[in-house]
């Protein structure tokens, strides 16, 4: 198993460091996500109370929550998406804060978090696709949720991969943890490029 040894050696971030980063990502990412989901919920209520209400994040035709919040995609499971966000991010924040406090979470809690984060990241990418190519508008608070959901998923996954027994085929991916922020930034760059390409004509008319 020299390959494994090399891979582990390649992993420049020590396990303790990655665990701390993961705890911070969960606590801060969860908190920021909670704020964004809370704000979106308040805006949704304002919009329901007054159909002419202009949400605080409707800046121009492209950066606009108003047009995004009123689409069917904004309540994909029959209830407004931000309500899912409030529930999910509250749990993530709690787990993150506990980890920062030195609590050791049981295996099932990590698996549950993995399931939730995976659902979240898939859902968020569906929303990104809808926002860019179907609705053709970007909602700033929603984009905050994209950013934190991706980070939460990535760090939870990297942490869980490292805990796999070396017999598991997926454990070969544990070495990716050494490149955690490279993966995160590359992920964001791909989405940023998609946004730039999609709305290039609009950005360039502003120039």
């Amino acid at each position: 198993m020299t390959a494994t040894a090399e891979r582990r050696g390649d992993t420049t971030a020590p396990a303790g460091f990655l665990a701390r980063v993961t705890a911070w990502v969960l606590a801060l990412g969860g908190g920021v996500g909670l704020l964004a989901a809370g704000t979106l919920t308040v805006e949704k209520i304002n919009l329901l109370a007054d159909a002419d209400y202009v949400p605080t994040c409707s800046i121009n035709p492209i950066l606009s929550c108003g047009s995004v919040m009123t689409t069917p995609q904004a309540a994909a499971f029959g209830i407004p998406n931000p309500l899912l966000g409030i529930a999910g991010f509250a749990v993530v924040t709690t787990l993150g804060v506990l980890l920062l406090g030195g609590v050791r979470l049981p295996r099932w809690a990590w698996l549950g978090l993995q399931a939730g984060a995976t659902f979240g990241v898939v859902f968020v990418h569906w929303l990104i696709y809808q926002s860019l190519y179907v609705i053709s508008a970007l909602c700033p608070y929603c984009m905050v949720v994209w950013v934190v959901t991706i980070a939460i998923f990535l760090y939870t996954t990297l942490r869980n991969l490292r805990e796999l027994p070396s017999s598991s085929p997926l454990s070969r991916l544990a070495g990716l943890a050494g490149y955690h922020s490279v993966i995160l930034v590359a992920w964001y760059v791909v989405i940023l490029l998609a946004i730039l390409v999609r709305f290039w004509d609009y950005w360039s008319t502003l120039g």
Binding site: T12, A186, V189, D201, S204, T205
Partner: protein, 220 residues
């Protein structure tokens, strides 16, 4: 510094540089392909024999050219201002519309062909009005809005069969494409782009700015 940190910082740096580069290219190439900012563009490129005029000044003193995309929100937003300006200045101003459909707008090209198909029956101005007045109804739809445009043609009293034929006529598509090509020659990057007596208007933010520019040209 770990390899992860180095790679991450390198990637961020590359992206920032690339974005700065793109912005710079975008800035420079804006008015430059033919000449510097505000310099005169060959009038023959801006206004062709067959270009559509919504008003004509007999003295030919002031000519305003708009390169537009019927589906672009900004063009829809300036439409009421243009309408008012045309009402105010009437035959003191020549106003020319050129097609500049932007590929990322799904129905922009089709809308330009619809306007051209109406022009084939001498009703360009009417179709121009209908397209902008109803932009919210047909704009930003993923599916081709052919039937909506045919309905507009019917409402305008056009020969609907001929309109349908013209909509698919390669000659009509070529006419739209040649407008766009002229726009590219003139340095048009996005829509709406205005040229007043051959000079691109770059500092126009409001209707008042536009009126001031026109008045200055009339007074010259």
């Amino acid at each position: 510094m770990t390899r992860n940190t180095r790679l991450t910082l390198a990637m961020i740096l590359v992206v920032i540089l690339a974005l700065l580069g793109l912005t710079a290219v975008n800035r420079n190439s804006g008015p430059r392909p033919t000449s510097g900012a505000g310099a005169e563009v060959d009038p023959a490129v801006l206004v062709r024999e067959d270009s559509h005029r919504l008003s004509t000044a007999p003295d030919g003193k002031v000519t305003l050219v708009e390169f537009l995309d019927f589906e672009c929100e900004a063009c829809g937003a300036v439409y009421p201002a243009i309408k008012e300006i045309l009402d105010t200045y009437q035959d003191r101003l020549t106003f020319v519309v050129r097609y500049f459909p932007i590929p990322s707008h799904p129905n922009a090209e089709l809308a330009a062909r619809a306007a051209q198909a109406a022009a084939e029956q001498g009703r360009f101005a009417e179709m121009y009005t209908v397209l902008f007045e109803n932009q919210e109804a047909w704009g930003h739809q993923r599916t081709p809005q052919t039937e909506t445009f045919v309905e507009y043609a019917r409402t305008l009293g056009l020969d609907v069969d001929r309109f349908r034929r013209d909509l698919d006529d390669p000659a009509v598509a070529a006419r739209v494409a040649s407008d766009r090509a002229d726009g590219e020659t003139a340095g048009v990057q996005g829509t709406p782009t205005f040229f007043l007596n051959g000079r691109q208007l770059t500092e126009i933010r409001t209707q008042a700015d536009m009126i001031a520019a026109i008045d200055a040209a009339l007074a010259r």
